[in-house]
Symmetry: C2
Subunit: 416 residues, 2 copies
């Protein structure tokens, strides 16, 4: 009898966790990803703000799964799924499966304003991060050369749209880059005069955290001279700047951290999806009517304890990947399935800047230096690869001690 074929699409936190859980199982596992590396997305904003290099937060998928000899890795772009013929379509071939795990993640959503993407790039991929880094650093270079004070002010205004963890972390990191790391690098402009504006349509930043921690984050942002605009949505973005409610704010750099939409996995399958495009899944994370198809992580709408969908966080995706691996191992062994998936919330954190973070462990809420140290330790310990852990930690210690940031390179298109 041929060995069952399990195909996992996506090598993010969910897909990798499923692949790890299936290492050594009596099945042929294929992991398909568009890229050759796994990306540690929680630290991507540090690449965008010149703190870290791409290779420090990315690790080749083949290397991670080297010792899982039943796991085969394919670098390729999935264009669709045929749930009847049971195969995944790539651009130039198709891969048959007996069981399919969709872990395709999320991308930015501009809520009907897709033309804003050009001027207000989001932060999901390495190339997004190096593009944002290029914009931020070039804005200072152009301001240094401008004779027009108004244009200089515009170039030195940075707007971050969205007050969730990514937006708060970006705004804090841009403020530290401008006010600390670059402060003596220019002769004409004074980078300390840079304006960093964080725009949030809701009433508070970090809405997923308890109100006390939102307030602590707001105070930290204000200490970093980030201007926080709450309660008014952005009504327009273009190359000249941002319109917030009625106010027009001339800005040279706009970063989008306001919304995500799921990948098109639900469309591929033609199954039920929620408002942001996530596949509705049952308590075992399988797609209703398709016990052979699972969706996990940002691709899935799985109900939590309170009936609300689980948030798009790395720990959710990881635990779901491990759960699917357990379900499949039970099936392979002919054992009864494990109990339904339950997310264990060990806490959430967000960092704002030097010695400033918030952490919510449910029973314990922290902000300030201690939360920041824990944030650093936890993020480093989850990084894949001992080398990356060590080097990221050294980079952080170095930046902390010297007030410098290490990867201030303007690379890419147009920089030849």
């Amino acid at each position: 009898m041929p060995r069952p074929r399990i195909v996992i699409v996506g090598a993010g936190f969910g897909g990798l966790s499923a692949a790890h859980g299936l290492a050594g199982a009596d099945a042929d596992v294929t992991v398909i990803d568009r890229r050759n590396y796994h990306l540690f997305q929680p630290l991507l904003y540090q690449v965008a703000t010149a703190g870290l290099s791409p290779a420090q937060i990315a690790s080749p998928i083949r290397g991670i799964l080297r010792h899982a000899t039943n796991v085969h890795v394919i670098m390729g772009k999935v264009t669709g799924v045929d749930p009847v013929a049971r195969c995944v379509q790539l651009e130039d071939r198709s891969v048959p499966y007996d069981t399919l795990v969709l872990a395709t993640g999320a991308r930015h959503a501009y809520f009907g304003h897709d033309d804003w993407e050009e001027v207000a790039p989001g932060l999901k991929k390495i190339d997004d991060a190096t593009a944002i880094r290029r914009r931020i650093l070039l804005a200072f270079e152009m301001a240094e050369q401008s004779d027009d004070p108004e244009e200089r002010r515009r170039l030195m205004t940075f707007v971050v749209i969205g007050g969730g963890p990514t937006g708060v972390e970006m705004a804090g990191a841009i403020a530290e880059l401008a006010h600390v790391a670059l402060r003596r690098d220019f002769r004409v402009i004074n980078p300390r005069e840079a304006r960093i504006v964080l725009v949030e349509a809701g009433p508070r930043v970090l809405a997923a955290f308890p109100p006390t921690l939102s307030a602590a984050a707001l105070r930290s942002l204000e200490r970093l001279h980030v201007e926080v605009r709450l309660g008014r949505p952005v009504s327009h973005c273009d190359a000249a700047g941002v319109t917030i409610g009625e106010e027009h704010l001339p800005a040279g750099t706009i970063v989008w951290a306001a919304g995500v939409a799921s990948s098109p996995a639900a469309q591929w399958l033609g199954v039920d999806r929620d408002r942001v495009g996530r596949v509705m899944v049952g308590p075992d994370l399988a797609v209703p009517g398709h016990p052979e198809i699972f969706a996990i992580g940002d691709t899935a709408h799985a109900a939590g304890k309170d009936g609300q969908p689980l948030p798009g966080l790395a720990p959710v995706a990881k635990q779901q990947g491990a759960h699917v691996a357990r379900v499949l191992r039970a099936r392979l062994a002919g054992r009864p399935p494990p109990p339904p998936f339950r997310y264990r919330d060990y806490g959430t954190m967000a960092t704002i800047g030097r010695r400033s973070a918030v952490a919510d462990f449910g029973w314990l809420k922290l902000d300030g230096t201690l939360a920041w140290l824990m944030w650093g330790l936890i993020h480093v310990s989850f990084l894949i690869g001992f080398r990356n852990r060590l080097i990221v930690m050294l980079d952080w210690i170095w930046s902390y001690v010297t007030f410098q940031s290490g990867a201030r390179l303007i690379t890419g298109p147009g920089q030849h």
Copy 2:
């Protein structure tokens, strides 16, 4: 009286050394570069072969010159020089000078075959290196997915054209990447079967070194299973492969390390230039007839002891930059000029692979492990920035111990 204006074009080894030598001088110094960073080019091949990250060998120019308060940095592309009006033209402005130092470096030369550049990229810029890295790593990914054994063989054939230090280092590093770092990463192909071919038109590799060291380098390359083809030039390159003399070699990746030409500085000035476009300079490194214009490094043809032009090496550029700074400081102080420039040759080195390098100090010629250790120490000690030194050293030690390489990312155009 207004302070004299000294403009330095290019922040490579030569330009930076001149700027350092003029720090604190009674003159306004402006450094103009297309990029915002200084690149440590001798290690660029390690970025192209996934050993190091770009930020590890590049350092922001503003950061390097932060404490030289009389030095102003402009990021911009020079399009010409007006030696009569004494100003440097950028794309959108012009910068006047009293003294001009041209340190614009070199670029690849395809000897009349500019159409080869598309299929056989060279290695001068960071974006070149990440593009070559992408090609090399993608070749293995495509081979893993190909059903055609002939195409697989083609994809796994890597040709390096040019047997100078860059070509030897590239060929050795690709061989180690394929035969060591990637050896267990694939399930279909065996990366150890990759063919690495080094093509040199002349009779030996490393022609600038003594013949005994060329022979040692050849033995090291052969130990790494690099096929070395000597004495026949490449007659054709295209997407299918390389033609060497009469032999057609199907190849998926071609790297050009065969020739350099100077930047267009001589054309800007309309002055005498040599065969590869370098500005002819006098013993003080000034352009004859233009005591206010200097050319240094790869931009300049300066005669050495034996009447031959000095080679295009980092130490030559550095010493010339320092010399020009001394000449200009003497002029500023009204002192007589220093004696004519003399290059002090402290030796040259090239590395081939793990525990293998050659070093020629004139009085001492070395190859093997000791030369390799010296190569590593010397290159790390010349890297700018303590952080980069430390992290490159850790990366090397890590790679040495684990046989792994750290920056195996496929990024850039088309990887979205």
